[in-house]
Amino acid sequence: MEAAAAMDHHDQHESTGIDHRKLGMWVFLSSEFLFFGALITNYLLYQGQPGFARPYPAEIYDIPFTSFSSFALLMSSLTMVLAHNALARHDQHATRTWLLATAMLGSVFLGGQVFEFTEFVTVGGMKLTTNPAASAFYLLTGFHGFHVLLGVLMLLTLYGISRRQGELSEASGLNLELVGLYWHFVDIIWIVIFTVVYLLAGVPAGVG
């Protein structure tokens, strides 16, 4: 997406009036639904099948804890949009603050995930290799966590550039918008995962 970065304006015109990179980002995000959809389907198929080795993921969820880290991710969308807004108002200082806040909230979420996985494996006794439902759970949430990690890295890069140059230039402004789009997208995917995979999860009849 960064390819057209400093594309000089003489050759650039957009038949649709949308910047290349922004259009590219939205196009890419639309395909991400099929990535996450496959992973969620996979989980839904296996979580309800009887006869697997125990435990099933839903047996060992810690809903209060996950609600807390989900909340952190949700609020990071607010700080992200505030960063964007601050840059639009040319308030470089506030931009930096909100960028850092977003990265922090993202890290809280990631830290929560690391903690959750560790608990599940050591206390709950559910490993990747325990049963297909567990495999599906780890692949789905791990893949999402990887997205968050990439997002945090991009946010920190923007923050670093802003620190070094004292400001984010016009071109970086678009970058911030793109990172923001990606970030919100990762958030909405988690909104779905939180409901479908955590709150609505069940165990097959006869288990638990």
Binding site: G17, W26, T41, S67, M75, L78, A88
Partner: protein
């Protein structure tokens, strides 16, 4: 290119905060619903309610935080196409496995 349609309709920081409060409240309702259902079985009514709440949050973030409401319709067309396609295809797969069922 020169004028960004809707640029000045973007919400203000205060509005963003209000939206966040709404999102937070919705999340609290979600978690509460979960516990209500744990305590007294809602007879399957928790699922549609929770899904509606999640969709609501989804739409709010996409529409306002991602500004999709204020953008050219090409973008929303792509985005909805991906979403709907994924929904339909995977629903058919889950139907074929009997994980979800039509009717009863």
């Amino acid at each position: 290119m020169a004028t960004h349609p809707g640029e000045h309709h973007h919400p203000t920081p205060l509005q963003y905060v209000k939206i966040a409060i709404l999102l937070a409240v919705l999340t609290i309702i979600e978690v509460a619903l979960f516990y209500v259902n744990e305590a007294a079985d809602m007879g399957g009514w928790d699922a549609p309610l929770l899904i509606i709440l999640a969709l609501f949050k989804f739409v709010i973030v996409v529409g306002w935080y991602m500004h999709l409401r204020f953008e050219d319709s090409t973008l929303s067309k792509f985005f909805t196409a991906g979403f709907i396609l994924a929904l339909i295809l995977y629903a058919i797969v889950l139907l074929a496995f009997g994980v979800i069922a039509l009717g009863s």
